[in-house]
Amino acid sequence: MTDAPLLDVQGLRVAYTTRAGEVPVLTGLDLSLRAGEALGLVGESGCGKSTVALSIMRYLGRAGRITAGRILFEGRDLVSLDEGALRALRGRRIAMVYQDPMASLNPVMTVGRQLMEVPMVHERVDAAAARARALAMLREVRLADPEAVMDRYPHQLSGGQQQRIVIAMALIAEPALLIMDEPTTGLDVTVEAAVLDLVRDLRRRHDSAILFISHNLGTVARVCDRVGVMYRGELVEEGSVRQIFTDPRHPYTRGLLDCLPTSGRDKRHAPLIPIAGQVEPASARTPGCGFASRCPHVETGRCTTRAIALATVEDDAGHRVACVRVDELAQASRRRATLAVRDAQAPTAPVIAVRDLHKSYERRRARLAARKDVVRALVDVELTAARRRTLAVVGESGCGKSTLAKILTGIEVATGGSVTLDGIEVAALPVDARDRTLKRKLQMVFQNPDSTLNPSHTVGYAIGRALRRLRERAPADVPSGVARLLEVVKLGPEMAARRPRQLSGGEKQRVAIARALAGDPDVIVADEPVSALDVSVQAAVINLLNEIQAERGTTLLFISHDLAVVRYLADHVAVMYLGTVAEFGAVERVFAPPYHPYTEALLSAVPVLDPDAAASRIVLEAPLPRGDEVPRGCPFATRCPRRVGTVCDDVPPPVQQLDGGHRIARHIPAKELAARQVPL
């Protein structure tokens, strides 16, 4: 290994031309990467991290333009390379792995051909040799039955398998630099853990340098040696994983970490502290620190007049920070806000009681297939939600958590079993058949900020319409009602005139919450309300939900795949797997041994920020079973790391009742499990 870095980005400036004029996205970025090293690049959406990746690949589209700076790779400046030279580098010396693997693979070409193409184009090997290489690579990314996979089309593979193919395609030419842009975003947490594990492993074997881009600080901690934090097109802090996560210096990095519901935090003990304000658009850049307008330590003048360069922190080699006040800020002045501790343990009467709930769909396997599958979305679901408390339903995609929400809200009806809402049976009651009082009792907050509000209607109309329908408000009273609701969700009254496209994601989600509150509901069902938001915005919305609950006594049914958020926010938790409830109970009991083996796997898969997090992790290598592969016995049997034998496949596991209403469905006795499991 030579001293010269493999990749050296110097003063990179990139701008996009938009209708509003030229918008600078990167404003003088410096970073370097040595051979074999893994650098994580983190930041919230819009910070320019993906642009870094695309600039290195020289793939900015027609709107993007590198306006200044150099990108030295193996001593050559990529900025000035011509198409031919770029082609020779792309895919061979620098390869890329993308966020959405399904979209990144050609749908009408077998994955085998897509893999073989790389050595055939770059090394001019024949088809047989390319096939051998592809097969070897598929084995390396731990895909079962590589021969069969070669002939599959992308749609025939699961998301995890697709991402393994993309990784194989990137590594097949043994590149010196691998750029991964959000490679696990959108994958289920257990799949993500397996993919990250694979990346860590392959890195050691192939000695490729990795530029790992992610919004998720935990995933970066798992794969990388060093971390760079980006804000508004600049690197604001850079250092080893340990330096950044245990001793952050830049106020933005600190703010970011304070927003994370990391393990050990919950709403009672260490509330999240959102960063004030919101990211200002790149076109509104002022000289000086980009973070100045939101920084709690800002000092007008010093911070706001001229550009601030990265400088090495004293006595901390390799740790660079772009903050003029870095030495003045106390080393670990991490803020700790305290909210009034609320007694969460006092039991209250249940508002929602779900018993033996079943839901199945008929689905045709493909457009032309004759056979229909019966998909069992919910099987024997049983749980209760206590008044004024938060019940979290957690699980991976396909576990039935959203179906449960749809039945509660009446958008779909159950095929069997019972759901009571304040004693009223609603399982078979579609929303049209519910009367106004019942509709008012339960409202919903949805997942996708871009689809939750009608783009054709103003905010005021959306909230006002809900007021009129659910509260029978006279039209004259509506504006004041809208303003009051906007105030509850901490938005100004001027928002009423805006349309959704003029709002940020966090604002849209607040408006959606205001709309749900219009009927003054007893229960709010929130289906992944924060999963599409950036962490700092996420923290603010979570806090808002919490406050609303405290003030209005609303029961919250919080549906999420994110265990960190659930652990932070919930009072009770139901862990779901393939339509069944694997475990149910108070949050502190569910997230402590004895666990259901699935809960254990989920918890162990959550990426943690601790660079010392040990390896005692459980990785589920087997993919989620498809409809007809689900065993008759325990649905988790095909992937369970603690399988005891054929009893798991054949006999549905008994539900074991533990202390405090904690229930687990599995074959292994609780005591035995507790003895084998460690707290995660």
Partner: protein, 312 residues
């Protein structure tokens, strides 16, 4: 696959039944009308009544429709009043002429629009794209008769290179091949303009897909990216439309056939309609719909063959 074919055949049958019934009803709106149309305006009412009874036209509509379907199924399409010949022969002759014209036009349209559409769509916003987009839009906007007039005024009136009619009878010093040039040119220009913009739009969309980025960043040449990765995906949406052009080419070229006095199916239908040759109109409509539905099925089939996601 069997299910696919069965479903489509069922739809074909259903469509033919509905259309034949509608046309039948329309043509025989009032019992006396048919005989009146056959005999013309100068026949006496007695003659009309007599013929009505002779033809069995005083029976209920549904009964006559069933009889009609039975006759059609046994291959008897009736007699054409306009051409004084069995309807079957009249249709066969004109359809063959049109098929000939359509085949030549189709053989030009498909490659031409694929090349132009792909070239335009592969670099959206490039000069080439703008030129192709605007040209194809303009050409597709000119009605066929106007295109015919424009081309004829240049090549027939002004330059005198080509004949102004295509009667398929060699004469006046013009070969049949020379006669075909203008009709084919009009059809190709008008229709390709539309198909080009379809393919271009699809290509533009495909070029923005992440898998094209994957292909480029694998280090493939632009040519390889287009031919191996973009082309097949870009043809998925337009393939159905392309197959539907067969339908237009056979049944929709009335205007071109009229402009150039080409003895084809469309002009036959026009004459039959204007002459109130009911047997011919009914049979012709059935043939046209049959063709339309079959091309629809062909389009769906082609789509299935191109897209592995549907074969599953």
């Amino acid at each position: 696959m069997a299910r696919f074919v069965a479903k489509h055949l069922l739809f074909l049958l259903l469509t033919l039944l509905v259309v034949s019934f509608l046309v039948f009803t329309l043509n025989e709106f009032s019992p006396g009308a048919v005989a009146r149309k056959v005999l013309g305006a100068y026949a006496t009412q007695e003659q009309v009544d007599l013929l009505t009874t002779q033809m069995g036209l005083d029976r209920p509509l549904l009964v006559r429709y069933v009889d009609y379907v039975r006759a059609v199924l046994s291959g008897d399409l009736g007699q054409s009043a306009r051409f004084k010949a069995p309807v079957r022969d009249v249709i066969a002759r004109h359809l063959a002429n049109t098929a000939f014209l359509a085949a030549i036009a189709f053989a030009c349209i498909v490659p031409l629009s694929m090349i132009l559409g792909v070239m335009a769509g592969m670099r959206e916003g490039s000069r080439l794209d703008r030129v192709i987009l605007i040209l194809s839009t303009v050409v597709a906007s000119i009605p066929e008769f106007a295109l015919g007039v424009f081309l004829a005024s240049v090549f027939v009136v002004w330059l005198g290179w080509l004949p102004g009619t295509a009667t398929l009878v060699a004469g006046g010093g013009w070969s049949v091949a020379a006669q075909l040039v203008l009709p084919v040119a009009v059809i190709v220009l008008f229709d390709a303009g539309y198909v080009v913009s379809m393919i271009r739009a699809s290509m533009v969309e495909v070029m923005q897909r992440p898998y094209i980025r994957t292909a480029v960043l694998k280090g493939l040449s632009f040519r390889r990216v287009i031919l191996k990765h973009a082309l097949r995906n870009a043809m998925l949406t337009p393939i159905t439309v392309i197959m539907l052009q067969i339908n237009y080419l056979v049944a929709g070229v009335v205007v071109v056939e009229t402009v150039f006095a080409y003895p084809g199916f469309g002009r036959m239908m026009l004459e039959a309609t204007l002459f109130k040759d009911i047997a011919l109109v009914e049979a012709g409509a059935l043939v046209a719909v049959f063709l339309a539905v079959v091309t629809n099925i062909l389009g769906d089939l082609a789509y299935v063959l191109l897209d592995p996601r549907i074969r599953a």
